[in-house]
């Protein structure tokens, strides 16, 4: 099959604001304003941009959780928004999502087994015993143990919860995982563990990521291509090595310059009261 893994064409999503004046047409917000890109299998794509740039709208449209105003999203050649409901459900096995907040995305009243097997149960064609076996495989591959399946989310730390969310995404053996800020709610030391895991899964299961993040370093770590989203448009796109060293669009440059460097800078001289004993 030669169709690319994901092909997004001229995607537009408008939101209609509440009417402010009786006789005037209501305002429209263009959350996405003609976005096109292609993700080839095995080449993970990072989407960076600030809040309000349309990142999350894009994720919702790619996951077919929302209808675009115009444009199309094709997964392995099938237009997700044109598929009949039943076929869309079948198509969903190829595309899964990992959310930002591992505290909000796992139902506290369900066991890990139920949480992790839910995508399979929704597909409705896997026997219970098989579901259990696949769940055990999935949690093992994210570094947890099979007997963790009987536990509940509150028994796990933030990093472990995000592993559970990743296990849930892995269980249908998807081709593409859409990860919306998967590590931004985690502490730095735990963030590294989850990023390494995502990298291992990339190699082991041939998973491709569409990684949405405001953190350029995280994108640099996992992705082969980066698209910079600004005001609902892609303003610059390319491999991170090039984009981060020779950004062309002023917005990309501003974004890069704003990242605080972990090197103590010569800060502006303080007028008085310089701390004693700091050696300068």
């Amino acid at each position: 099959m030669n169709a690319p893994l994901l092909q997004v064409e001229n995607l537009v999503r408008e939101y209609t604001m509440p009417r402010e004046r009786l006789l005037e047409p209501p305002h429209k917000v263009h959350a996405l304003n003609g976005v096109s890109f292609v993700i080839e299998a095995g080449r993970s794509m990072g989407i960076v941009g600030e809040s309000g740039s349309g990142k999350s709208t894009l994720a919702r449209l790619v996951m077919a959780l929302d209808q675009p105003t115009s444009g199309s999203v094709k997964l392995l050649g099938r237009d997700l928004h044109a598929l009949p409901r039943e076929q869309l459900r079948q198509a969903r096995r190829d595309i899964q999502m990992v959310f930002q907040d591992p505290y909000g995305s796992l139902d506290p009243r369900q066991t890990i087994e139920r949480i992790v097997t839910e995508p399979l149960a929704a597909q409705g064609d896997t026997a219970r015993a098989e579901q259990h076996r696949r769940a055990a495989d999935a949690v093992t591959s994210v570094g947890l143990r099979a007997n963790d399946l009987r536990k509940y989310p509150h028994e796990f730390s933030g990093g472990q919860r995000q592993r559970i969310a990743i296990a849930r995404a892995l269980i249908t053996r998807p081709r593409l995982i859409v990860a919306d800020e998967p590590v931004s709610a985690l502490d730095v030391s735990v963030q590294a563990q989850v990023l390494n895991l995502m990298q291992d899964l990339q190699a082991e299961f041939g998973i491709t990521y569409m990684l949405i993040s405001h953190d350029l370093a995280v994108v640099r770590h996992l992705c082969d291509d980066v698209a910079v989203l600004w005001q609902g448009r892609i303003v610059e796109q390319g491999p991170p090595e090039r984009l981060f060293s020779a950004a062309e669009h002023p917005y990309t440059r501003a974004l890069l310059e704003a990242v605080p460097k972990a090197e103590p800078a010569r800060r502006k001289a303080r007028p008085s009261g310089l701390p004693h004993g700091t050696g300068r």
Binding site: E50, S51, G143, L144, R145, D148, S157, G158, G159, Q160, R163, D187, V188, S189, V190, Q191, A192, Q193, L195, N196, Q199, H214, D215, L216, A217, V218, R220, H221, L222, C223, D224, P240, E241, F244, A254, L255, L256, E257, A258, V259, P260, K261, A262, E263, P264, A265, R267, K268, R270, P271, S272, G273, L274, P275, H276, G277, T278, G279, R280
Partner: protein
Amino acid sequence: MPLLEVSNLHVRLHTHRGPAYAVRDVSFTLERGETLGLVGESGCGKSITVMALMGLLPESAQVTGSIRFDGQELTAKSDPQMCEIRGNRIGMIFQEPMTALNPVHSIGRQVAEPLRLHRGLSASAARKEAISLLDRVGIPQAARRIDAYPHQFSGGQRQRVTIAMALACGPDLLIADEPTTALDVTIQQQILELISDLVAERGMALMLISHDLGVIAQNVARMLVMYGGSVVESGPTEAVFAHRMHPYTLGLFAARPGLLSQKGRKLATIAGSVPELVDLPAGCPFAGRCRFTIPECHVTVPPPHQVEPGHHVRCIRLEAVAAEKAAPTPTLPREGREEEAA
């Protein structure tokens, strides 16, 4: 006399799972006009330390040790006495501006509130002062927007409003607890620049709490690294960045993905996860997660050891750490293949 002198501060909180030693033997000083950073991950005790300074701990918390602010002992103060200091001599900026602001009051009223309360200004004088403060923190057309409500502002502007509130009474000490974590990077830079300009302009001391080493590097002269309720490493920012010695600090630095790092390179991780304050080990809080652990580490909390002037590290395995750092093979970045202990 330093502006703020914290010595041997301990805070014990009561939780439904038993006592939690949230702050263990924290000591530091802060001079007027000095900037100090507090770095650490969630649950390391940095926010509790700040809450202790502000007198905002839950009633059941037990505080021992001393917090001297401008010669006065804060731990002995009653609630009404603390009210006179909070918002007046010590200003504070919180992480999430939308929760720090009251949604049903106009921003003008909220900025004017400390002025009326602490300085006894009349309503019209407080309003005038609020306009000039909002103008100073960069709210465009402050005089026109003073009657607007928090929801009518963007996240960055809301944070500017909380900064104006914190500055209102001209505090001697400004505490900023993760002031930019909820903001976009480009806005973060503007807010940090605003804070550092104001600190320089007014000669305030600044305590900046952050989990982001980049933010700390660019904004403070001295820093404390906290882990498991205690300060594991402290010193001038440049010294700590250049000659970091505590295994936890080393791990924290190595775990950061860099903009220029190679794709596909493994990040060094710290095995295990941050311990809960309820069941902290008896000895060094990092023992167990640390590769250099020896049985002695589990016995007592290591005393601070001076590695260079002003730079202290609480670790009894510094020789081993130094030996590994000096070793020609880069063993540090490869430590991270251990999996998180479930």
